[in-house]
């Protein structure tokens, strides 16, 4: 298994009352509530924690990015990835991921990622995402072309990584006269690409068609099984059989020496009123054209307050109950996580361990217990269950580099 440490890098040092008063903690919630002195302290704290996670035995550090919101301080995943490339020695640097549609110049992304791959001596996992709806609004990118831009930017980056330049790119959303960046990735044919997601069927299908591992972001066990059923079906159609190496799962888990302390800190997972991406208007999270047209009718009713959130709004206790949040002592967490592994069989397991306003001391303690006590037990259990990571399974980077496709299906 591949076991990763993750935090959203919460900008917890702002007055939560201000967000409640304003009614939103995203997009238009004023950045006057951001304190750069606290920001500096927290960025450095998070950096120390990543280094500590490596020392304690994590296989990977998972990074992401968001914009205009306190729930995540990372505005550019490649910045922390660059730092970690230099200051860590062993961990995989797993970007989940760069929001491709936000890039007006995907070649630049291809170059940055190639640099990170070389500086880290081949430790980059280059995940790609569509970016949340709010990210499109925060960065002025047309949400109606989000999926088209995602796919075209991906194709352009992969071509940039795998075919010698110069070449010309005359696409629908991207046109480039001379594609010929000097920096290319160390890993061949190119760094692994993993695709995280939570809702869109279209993304699951796209990931399976490319044979890229899909990382389910804290979905319920039932929803995760539905995702794997779809992935497996598309994989069969594409000519291969999907396994644990195609499956990743991110779980919120907080470990402490006592259950009481773990529960207290785990409640911080709800610090954004239970919304991962903060309090926001539904039309910010799903601007017109961003969402799957099949969900349009349900969504517009939700957006004007006539229907409940299709994702629901479970309480902390409910989420603990259905294992969307795991917390407790190492033994308690191991037991719960084993159940999750048996139910969803991932080869990649991400642990979203600290959120909101957890003290630096408790964060560190959580990382130590997670990496030194929980991860070894999970790794052992994974072996018993035959849950291999893409590295252990030596899985091909993508369908184009597969040598085991069943010909009839592939044609």
């Amino acid at each position: 298994m591949h076991l990763m440490y993750f935090t959203e890098q919460p900008m917890s040092a702002y007055d939560a009352q201000e967000g409640l008063k304003y009614g939103a903690t995203a997009l238009t919630f004023s950045n006057k509530h951001f304190d750069p002195v606290e920001g500096s302290r927290l960025y450095n704290q998070y950096l120390e924690e990543y280094i500590y996670a490596e020392e304690c035995g994590a296989d990977g550090i998972m990074l992401n990015e968001h914009h205009n919101a306190p729930f995540c301080m990372q505005a550019k995943a490649n910045v922390f990835a660059s730092i970690l490339a230099a200051v860590t020695k062993r961990v995989k640097i797993v970007l989940l991921g760069n929001p491709l549609p936000l890039a007006d110049n995907p070649i630049r992304l291809a170059e940055e990622l190639a640099m990170i791959d070389m500086i880290s001596k081949g430790r980059l996992v280059s995940g790609f995402v569509r970016g949340g709806g709010q990210e499109q609004l925060a960065t002025g990118v047309n949400p109606a072309f989000n999926r088209e831009r995602f796919q075209e930017a991906h194709d352009l980056i992969v071509k940039t990584w795998t075919q010698p330049g110069p070449f010309r790119w005359e696409g629908t959303h991207y046109q480039h006269r001379v594609v010929n960046p000097w920096a290319v990735p160390l890993q061949k044919p190119y760094p692994r690409v993993w695709i995280p997601g939570v809702l869109s069927k279209e993304t699951v299908i796209w990931a399976a068609q490319h044979r890229y591992p899909y990382i389910a972001l804290n979905t319920s066990i039932e929803a995760t099984k539905v995702i794997w059923d779809l992935y497996d079906k598309v994989a069969e159609e594409a000519g291969y059989t999907a396994g644990p190496e195609n499956r990743g799962y991110l779980i919120r888990v907080h470990v402490q020496d006592t259950e009481e302390k773990a529960v207290k800190n785990a409640k911080q997972f709800m610090w954004m009123q239970g919304e991962f991406t903060g309090l926001a208007h539904p039309v910010w999270a799903n601007p017109a054209g961003y969402f799957s047209p099949s969900g349009r009718r349900g969504f517009v009713e939700f957006a004007v307050g006539r229907a409940k959130n299709p994702r629901g709004n479970p309480t902390f206790e409910e989420q603990r109950q259905n294992m969307m949040i795991v917390c407790g002592t190492p033994d308690q967490c191991i037991e719960r996580l084993k159940t999750l592994m048996e139910a969803t069989r991932p080869g990649i397991f991400g642990f979203w361990a600290n959120d909101g306003n957890v003290s630096a001391e408790d964060s560190r303690n959580c990382i130590r217990l997670l990496c030194q006590e929980v991860m070894p037990a999970i790794r052992e259990h994974g072996k018993k269950l035959g849950l291999k990571s893409p590295f252990e399974a030596e899985a091909p980077v993508s369908i184009d580099y597969s040598t085991d496709l069943r010909r009839a299906a592939a044609e």
Binding site: T28, N142, A144, F145, V283, G289, R296, V300, E301, V304
Partner: protein, 261 residues
């Protein structure tokens, strides 16, 4: 006025795109171009115009019952589609009546063919960057909040949309998606249009709601300056969706203007 107007539904194919339009009345032709939020099937404003003119009300490509061309990128594309439609219909004596976003399309049509129209009516047209103030961004407003912002009188909103059906909400989401596909950046204006309007020979009527919270009246003044023969009439106590809010006055202004020799 106009309660018994017989509207007929029509279909046309232009640039590979199936277009839906309604048509009623006789006389000189008015091409009525709807807002960014699309249009309901019937409006007192349309009926009032059809009592005196041949009125053609298309659904913009991608909006309402017209098909979406995947390649469509700009209101200027829609303008070219409508020039094509007019050519196919064989109508010559035409006055475009552009409403908000439709006003932008009408202005693009006129700039593309400066001698094509006898007259040009623009009611709260988008399309020019307001020298003062900004065009309201529907992307951060909800489905009901945005149309409501365009009414000075909330009762008028209720009169047209009632409690707002789910079908209407869906239509607004589709309309919003099309607005993004055609006018995302710069949002709801063209940087080149003001420089191209000076060639238009047709006299232009520009009408503005004094309480327009979607496009500031400074954009109306910019239109008047850019066109060579234009008047700007500002109606007090009216908003952006002026033809729905004040149908009789709006129709009279347009009728008197379009009917004049």
């Amino acid at each position: 006025m106009g309660g018994n107007i017989a509207w007929k539904e029509h279909a046309a194919t232009v640039a590979g795109c199936g277009l839906h339009y309604m048509r009623a009345g006789s006389g000189r032709s008015l091409l009525v171009l709807h807002h960014d939020i699309g249009t309901v099937e019937r409006l007192p404003f349309y009926d009032a115009l059809a009592a005196r003119f041949d009125v053609i009300v298309p659904h913009h490509p991608g909006w309402g019952r017209s098909e979406r061309p995947a390649w469509l990128r700009h209101p200027r594309d829609i303008a070219a589609i409508y020039q094509w439609l007019l050519a196919d219909l064989g109508v010559s004596d035409v006055c475009p009546v552009g409403l908000g976003f439709g006003g932008w399309i009408a202005a693009e049509m006129a700039s593309l063919a400066p001698q094509r129209f006898r007259r040009l009516a623009l009611l709260n047209p988008m399309g020019i960057k307001p020298p003062e103030g900004e065009i309201a961004d529907q992307a951060i407003l909800s489905y009901i909040a945005y149309p409501m912002l365009g009414f000075h009188d909330e009762a008028a909103f209720k009169r047209v949309y009632g409690d707002v059906s789910t079908d209407q909400l869906e239509a607004w989401d589709i309309a919003r998606e099309m607005s993004f596909r055609t006018a995302w950046k710069p949002y709801m204006y063209s940087q080149t249009l003001p420089h191209l309007l000076g060639g238009v020979r047709a006299p232009a009527l520009i009408v503005w709601g004094a309480e327009n919270r979607i496009v500031p009246v400074s954009a109306g003044e910019a239109y008047r300056s850019a066109l060579r023969d234009a008047t700007l009439t500002v109606l007090p106590g009216a908003g952006h969706f002026i033809e729905m809010e004040r149908p009789d006055e709006s129709a009279k202004l347009v009728s008197d203007f379009a009917g004049a020799n």
